[in-house]
Amino acid sequence: MNPENYVPTEYLPLFIMLVLATLFAIGGLLLGAFIRPRFYYPEKLEPYECGNEPSGLPWQKIAIRYIPIAILFVVFDVEIAFLYLLGVSFSSISPLALGGAIFFIFLIILGFFYDLKKGYLEWTRF
């Protein structure tokens, strides 16, 4: 095998599936475009607000509570990447490496429990 002309052909079907799914969705939309009615008037295009006149734009300042969740998600996602790699090579690595990996997981869990104890993850904190 020569890396010069290596093509990851296993992933070709994945790509084909992607194209198929896109074609299906766009095809459905196009098919509908021919037969669906179009009777637009300004009231119909207004954003929904339970029948009231819409008051202001939606893009206003929203609670900051979503940010800790996103940050934690990033941290855990990185950790999960290593967890998975550890899972795959669990029985083929040396005890020392295993110890390092478990220390890695343990440290993150420790940080997580610190946040939990401090209550940074309470939704109703503020």
Partner: protein
């Protein structure tokens, strides 16, 4: 030209294009979407390099987590359109700095460029053992110490989340 070359040039072109378009785009959310395209194509480039695990980890972590964090941040901070005056490339000093930075990376890249494939992890071995297993073994055996440093790095945001709340408590606002 072989298929690999064509695919490589496609990925490289889209990466450069989406980076450029992401910089040009005025709406931050759309700029973010260009960056999403960029990340997905970097994944494709990894795939061509026979780094399957890395390719999908790239998408999972960069596109699926970090960019989502940015997106949520954007929605919360209510930035619909970038302010014109905030364009930091307006003055010539910053342009020079940016140019120097780009050329630094360019030189660094060309210095470390290797035009042949070497090392013990050949394609055949990769196929035999499986790419994920080799990566895992390499990571945990040879890079145990950097891994532990990484753990401490990852601890920083976990401990730093509290800062978000401390500031708000001083305001007294909810």
């Amino acid at each position: 030209m072989s298929v690999v070359r064509i695919l490589f040039f496609y990925f490289a072109f889209v990466i450069l294009l989406s980076a450029f378009m992401g910089l040009r785009q005025r709406s931050p959310v759309k700029a973010l979407l260009w960056i999403l395209l960029l990340f997905v194509h970097i994944g494709g480039l990894y795939l061509l390099l026979n780094a399957e695990v890395l390719a999908f980890l790239q998408i999972i972590i960069y596109a699926g987590a970090i960019l989502v964090l940015y997106l949520i941040m954007l929605l919360i901070l209510d930035v619909r359109e970038e302010e014109r005056s905030m364009l930091y490339l307006k003055n010539w000093q910053s342009r020079i700095w940016a140019g120097l930075l780009v050329s630094f990376f360019f030189i660094l890249g060309s210095l470390t460029f290797v035009n042949k494939h070497r090392g013990e992890h050949t394609l055949d071995k990769l196929k035999e053992v499986g790419p994920s297993k080799i990566l895992g073994r390499l990571l945990f055996e040879d890079f145990t110490f950097p891994l532990i440093i990484l753990a401490f790095l990852l601890l920083v945001p976990l401990l730093g989340i509290g800062l978000l709340f401390v500031k708000r408590r001083q305001d007294g606002s909810a």
